[in-house]
Amino acid sequence: MKAGAAGLPRWCWALLLAPALAAAAPRVPASGAEVLEVLPWRNDPQQREVRELRASLSQAPLDLGRATGVARRYIELGRREADPRYFGYAQAALSPWWNNPAPPAAVRLLRASLLQTEHRFPEALADLDAVTSAEPGNAQAWLTRATVETVRADYPAATRSCARLSSLADEMITTACIANVGAMTGRLHASEALLATTYKRGAGGDAAVDAWVLGSLAEMAARRGDAANARARFRQALALAPGDSYLLAAYADFLLEQRRHDAVLALLAPHLRVDGLLLRHTLALAGAGDRERLAPELAELGARFEAGERRGDGVHLREQARFELQLRGDAARAVGLAQRNWTSQKELADARVLLEAAVAARQPAAARPVLDWMKTSGVEDPALARLAQQLAGQTKGAKG
C-alpha cells in the first residue's frame, strides 16, 4: 500500500486556516463615505493612454494594429504593476485571434508572452517557433524564445536563439542574453566579466534595459559571494527601476541570505499586495523573531496560496514550496510542490527550493532530477553545491 505524505495533509491546513478566513464576514459599511477600494489607475498617464486606445479598439475590434497596440500596453502595465489582471485584458484585446491555430505573427508573439505568464511554456514555445520561422528577423521573438528556453533548461537552444539576436538587436541586449545562458552553464565568471564590460561601455540608454542588466550582474555577484558588489548593483538597478517586483524579490532574497531582516522589512513594506514580496516580508519577520506581526501575515499568505490552489493554476508553486518549507515546516509537502514546479521551470531558485526541501524531508531520491541537471549543465553555485553535498551525506547515511 502507498504511504501517505508525512505531516499534516493539505485539508488539515485548510481547517487550521478556516478561522483566519472566517474573520472577514459580509457587512454593511457604517457610513456612505467609507472608502471600500482604492483603484490602481486613473491619474496615471499610461493608464489614460491605454484607456483611449481601448476605446478606439472598441470601434474596430478586428483592427490588428489597434488590437496588438492595446495588448502590448496591457502587458507592459501587467509587468510594471506585477498584476495578472492586465494580462487578462491583453488577452481580451486579442480575442478575435486567440483560438486561431495560426494567427498573424504579431498576435502570435503576444500570445506566446501571455502563455508564458501562465507557465504554459510548451505552447508558448510552439508559437515562438512559428514566429521565428515566419519572420527570422523578429528580434523580440528570438529574445523571448531564448528566455523561455533558458527557463526550460534547454541551453543549447537558448544559445542558438541569442546568436540569432546579434545581428538584430544592440550589443548590450545580445550580450545579456548570452551571459544569462553562460551563467547557468559553467561560465559564471566569464559571463559576468563580459556583461560588466559591455555594461560599462553601453550604459545610459534605456533605463529599463540598464536596470535589467544590473540586476543580472548583481545576481551573478551574489552567487560568487561578492556581497559588496551585489548590493551596490542591486541598489543601482532599483534606483533606475523603482518598484520593479522582480528586482525587489531578488534583492530581498540577497538580503535574507545576509540575515539583514530589518532591511528586507523596510524595502518591501510598500509592496505587500504582491504575493512573492509578501512571502519575503514574512520570511524576514520570522527571521527577526517578530511573532506578533508574523501570525497575521502567515494567515494572509496561506489564504493567498489557497486561493491560487482553488483556481487550479500552478504559477505559484515555487513560492508555495518555499512557504511550506521555511514558514510552515512541512518539508514533505514542500518536496511535492517543488517537484511539480521543477517539471515546469528550471531556474536557480527552482533548483534550490527542491534541494532544500529534499534535505529537510530527508528524501535524497526526490532531488535526483536537480542533481542530474547540475551535472549536465555544469552550473556553478555554492549554495546548490552545499545542498548537493548534504544530500550525498544523507544517501550514504541511509545505506550505511
Partner: protein
C-alpha cells in the same frame, strides 16, 4: 529605443508570475435544498473588476465609496445575473437578487450578491458562467455547491464556461465509501492483519496445540469481539488524525502496521493472549487507523464536508472488512477439524504472513523496495 523597450517588457513578462498579485476570481457558493425548493446563492465579485466592466467610481477620484457602490447595486445585479445561467434537471432556474453587502478577500473589497435560484425541476445542476469573459478571459469563477452536507467545487471561466454536477446529495459521500472499500481491498497489510486474528477463531489452544471448537457460538462471539475492537480502535484514531488532533509521521505508522501483522501472526504460533485477541485487535487497530487517515488525507477532503467523507470512508472500510469476514468464516468453520486447516492454514499460513510482514517492516523502516506490493 521604443522598439527595444517593447522587446524588453515582453522579455521580462516571463519572470513576472513568480511574484504576481492574485488574478481575477469571483466566488460563487450555492446551497442546494431537497426537491424543488429555491437554491440559496452568494456571489462575491471584486469591486475592481466591476469598476472595469461597468464603472463604479462616479466622481473619478480613484476611490470607491459605499455611496458610489450602493447607487450601482441594481446595475451590478443585472450585469452579473445576466451572465450566469443555472439549470436543474434540464429546466432553467429563475435567478433573483437580494440586497448586497461588502466583504474582503485577500486582494481587496468585493460586493456580496445574495440570490435565490427558483428551479422548476429537481435533478442535476448545470452552470453556464460568462462573467467578464469578454473583458478578461483569464477571469475564473470558483463555484462551490453544498448539497446534503457534501460540498463540491468547480472552476469555471472562458476556457470552460459550462459544467454539470451529477445529481444526488450522497454523491460525494458514496465516493468516499467506495474509496474505503477499495483501500481495504488493495491494502494487503490490513487483510493479513485481520486474517491473522481470524485464523484461530474457530480453534482453541488446549494442551499446547490448536483444537477445533465445538460450538459455533464461541467462534462467532470471538470474531464479533475482534472485529468490534478493531473497528472501534481504528475509527478513533482515523477521526483524531483526520481532524488534525494528532499527526504521526507516515513512515512510523506504516512500520508499526507491518510490526502489528508480524506480532498477530506470531501469536498464532506461540499464543500469548489466549482468547483475548480482541485486546490486540484494539491496540493495533489504533495504529491501523492512522494508516487509513493518511490515505484519506491523500484523497483530499472536501472542505465543509469533513464529517460526511470521514463517515463515508470509515463505512467503506467496515464494509470491506465484513466482506472478508463473511468470506473467510464459513470456510474456516467447515475446515476447522481438518489437518489441512490446523497445520497448513493455521501454522503454515501464519509463518507465511510473518515472512511477508517482516519484509514489509524492513522495507518501511529502512525505506527500501523489496516486494511488488
Amino acid at each position: 529605443m521604443k522598439r527595444i523597450w517593447c522587446l524588453f517588457c515582453l522579455l521580462l513578462a516571463v519572470a513576472l508570475p513568480a511574484s504576481a498579485h492574485k488574478p481575477s476570481d469571483s466566488y460563487l457558493s450555492l446551497q442546494a435544498a431537497q426537491g424543488t425548493a429555491p437554491l440559496q446563492g452568494r456571489w462575491d465579485i471584486a469591486l475592481r473588476d466591476l469598476d472595469y466592466a461597468i464603472g463604479l467610481d462616479a466622481d473619478g477620484d480613484g476611490q470607491i465609496t459605499w455611496d458610489e457602490l450602493r447607487r450601482r447595486h441594481a446595475d451590478i445585479a443585472a450585469y452579473a445575473l445576466a451572465r450566469l445561467r443555472i439549470a436543474r434537471g434540464g429546466q432553467p432556474c429563475t435567478l433573483s437578487a437580494g440586497s448586497q453587502l461588502v466583504d474582503s478577500h485577500t486582494d481587496g473589497a468585493y460586493t456580496v450578491l445574495p440570490f435565490t435560484a427558483a428551479c422548476p425541476a429537481a435533478g442535476a445542476l448545470e452552470f453556464d458562467y460568462r462573467l467578464f469573459a469578454d473583458l478578461d478571459p483569464q477571469h475564473k469563477g470558483l463555484v462551490s455547491v453544498e448539497e446534503g452536507g457534501a460540498a463540491r467545487t468547480l472552476v469555471l471561466g472562458s476556457g470552460q464556461p459550462h459544467a454539470r454536477l451529477a445529481e444526488g446529495a450522497g454523491q460525494g459521500f458514496l465516493d468516499f465509501v467506495e474509496h474505503g472499500i477499495w483501500h481495504i481491498w488493495i491494502g494487503y497489510d490490513h487483510i493479513l492483519f485481520l486474517l491473522s486474528l481470524l485464523l484461530p477463531a474457530v480453534l482453541v489452544w488446549r494442551e499446547h496445540a490448536w483444537q477445533a471448537v465445538a460450538a459455533p457460538r464461541a467462534a462467532l462471539i470471538d470474531v464479533l469481539r475482534i472485529v468490534t475492537a478493531f473497528t472501534l480502535a481504528h475509527s478513533i484514531t482515523l477521526s483524531l488524525a483526520a481532524l488534525g488532533v494528532i499527526a504521526l509521521p507516515s513512515r512510523w505508522v506504516e512500520s508499526a502496521i507491518a510490526l502489528s501483522v508480524l506480532l498477530a501472526a506470531l501469536n498464532n504460533l506461540r499464543p500469548i493472549t489466549h482468547g483475548r485477541r480482541w485486546i490486540a485487535a484494539f491496540g493495533f487497530g489504533l495504529i491501523h487507523g492512522f494508516g487509513f487517515a493518511s490515505v484519506l488525507g491523500d484523497l483530499g477532503l472536501q472542505k465543509g464536508a469533513l464529517a460526511a467523507s470521514l463517515v463515508g470512508f470509515n463505512l467503506g472500510v467496515e464494509i470491506g472488512q465484513l466482506a472478508i469476514v463473511a468470506a473467510f468464516l464459513p470456510l474456516a468453520w467447515l475446515a476447522r477439524r481438518s489437518w489441512f486447516y490446523r497445520r497448513v492454514m493455521m501454522l503454515g499460513g501464519s509463518c507465511l504472513i510473518m515472512l511477508v510482514a517482516a519484509i514489509w517492516l524492513g522495507e518501511r523502516v529502512f525505506d527500501l523496495r523489496l516486494l511488488p506490493v
